[in-house]
Symmetry: none
Subunit: 200 residues, 4 copies
DNA sequence: AATGAATGAGAGTTCATTCAT
DNA sequence: CATGAATGAACTCTCATTCAT
């Protein structure tokens, strides 16, 4: 509260603006003006515009890294993956807006170091869900499972439901996909595992 | 082929660069230099940078509109939706890079008229898949179904499989999701139909 | 009618646009578009944008030159000047919009050869009204006399009366100023002044 | 003098250049180069090219507004108008070059907000001189009276006399016109006119 | 801890003009 | 008589960044 107050206000404002208008379309002038300080003041706290994003990211990526660490300490398998998904849904929800920046600004961020880091972390998480020997469809199901808990808020924005219910539905569908992937894996050699999906 | 050579070369180069570096990060100077002409030459063919994107889009959105028209001519129902998904996969594949621009540049494009058009067309298609009275999870499944055939190439880019197989897998998973959504719908009154998905 | 049709349409359109928006703010593209032809077509008829203005001017400056010639053929004196003013009012009225271009675009035209020509012609006319040995105030009155018949339409635009009455009033005031100038000259012992100028 | 040095140098240079070459024909590059700074430095002090003109204007229009306020505090009538004219000549003289910009650049400035403001202020002043029920000629005389003290320097530029004498002559002629206007009013039964205006 | 002033690079856009066809 | 294509120069303006104070 005493130290770093301004620094924090900068990151907060930046997150708000980056999310609302995109990283590239948010200028340092805007950030500074929103805070009632000068650009130079921002530069006192951050060497670079990119540094703001980096700080933003570092503050918020930890739960994901913690989740990765947790998974690495468990025996791999369906139940671990399912529990991981549940945890991801629970812990990553409030972080989502940050990730929206990466999703929405692929073009703008392609050259930033932090974007590579983000991709690496996400890939690391993904790799713990994927069985490289499984068939393509199953891999896709896993990717989708993560993606749906990750991105449901954005994806459903057009439909407009309460965020809480959305997340519950997203988790349900995600688990469904995971289960489906695992069952395909289980029925080794069967390319489609089609009967598993038949409603009964 | 004979007429409009330069104009076409502009759109092609622009598509390549917009996809590779993002819309905002691609300057008209770059486009012009890639073509060995001056910026002014580009402006002879397109009144605006945005116009290039608009032309790009107009050339390529037609199959989606055709699909929408086709669906509107069919009786709504699971089999129509499934066939629509198959057609989408077949006809939209070669268009995907364009859409990647929209996906990747949400931030940069938010204010462009063409982005709104894109969203409108996509929403129109989506609405033909969604049953507004179905439960949230089923709606999500439909969204995902479209999204996976639409975005699989990008989503799997990190895994790097042959595009052809990818699309087949994406379609399989998408159909699976559609079926799952319809089965939930079928079990009217049951909010979750959760056991139906359990692999047995 | 057969030859030069397009040429004439160009000058007419140019006059309209130059008057409405200013010379500099009117681009050749606009002129061409208003006519439904290409810029290159305009360049077929005029080597230069300035050439259009020059042609416009040449077509319309003749009455002023004729007036100058007429004055030079008369004995200098109050009655000649008064008659000249009357003729100016009568013959220059329909030309005024062209001169508005020069008045309104001093900045824009300062470097154009035609602007110098315009100034020279006007100066030539003025010199026939001015007695270089008269006192400053009288010279000013003469300048004003010409200026008021010349510019009354523009000057009174804000008040908004019928053009015809405006011109009558302008001429009346202009003659008044001339008379006043001459009477001052007379009172200082000038040989040219006649009794006709005394008010009443 | 100590603070705002650069800002002031910008407005001064801009005034000089706007006057010499016209607003449109003066580029920011030129202004910057004349000052030995970069374009961006100019943009640090003024958000817009138009802003420079606006600042220029705001600094200099005050005497005119003060004059308007003074007139509004007086009883309307010939002597007030005459005194107002004298004050205008005294206080507005050093401001004239600015107004020359507006006079000379009608075309270029038509769309600038500041030009509308200028016209409004001038119209406000004019309205205090004009009797809307007077005859057209008298209205013209009033307009001319203002115009001649306002524009004499420019109008007489071709004749080239000492500015001081010019202004005296301009004021004399202007007062003459005012008197003439009021006497006409009197002869038509207006209550304000006094015998002082009758020539002799 | 923060400011005011300035910079260099580059963006999109517009214009008058040219020339082969 | 006219077009389509292209150019070079200029323009206003914005941005991330630096630095002395």
């Amino acid at each position: 509260m005493t130290a770093g107050t301004t620094r924090d206000r900068i990151t907060q404002t930046a997150l708000k603006l980056f999310t609302a208008k995109g990283y590239d379309k948010t200028s340092l002038r805007e950030i500074a003006e929103h805070l009632g300080v000068t650009k130079a003041a921002v530069y006192y706290h951050f060497k670079t515009k990119e540094d703001i994003l980096t700080a933003l990211f570092a503050e918020r990526i930890r739960p994901v890294e913690a989740l990765i660490a947790w998974m690495q300490g468990q025996a791999p398998g369906p139940s671990t993956r399912q529990e991981a998904l549940r945890r991801y849904a629970a812990e990553v929800a409030h972080v989502t807006p940050l990730f929206g920046i990466f999703q929405d600004n692929g073009g703008a961020l392609r050259n930033l170091a932090i974007a590579a880091t983000y991709r690496d972390v996400m890939k690391g998480l993904m790799d713990l869900f994927l069985d490289p020997e499984a068939d393509l469809a199953s891999q896709l199901r896993c990717v989708l499972a993560l993606l749906v808990v990750h991105g449901a808020p954005q994806a459903l924005a057009g439909i407009g439901n309460s965020t809480k219910e959305e997340r519950a539905a997203a988790l349900a569908v995600a688990l469904e996909l995971l289960v489906s992937a695992d069952s395909a894996r289980f029925l080794l050699g069967d390319a489609h595992a089609s009967e598993a999906q038949l409603p009964l």
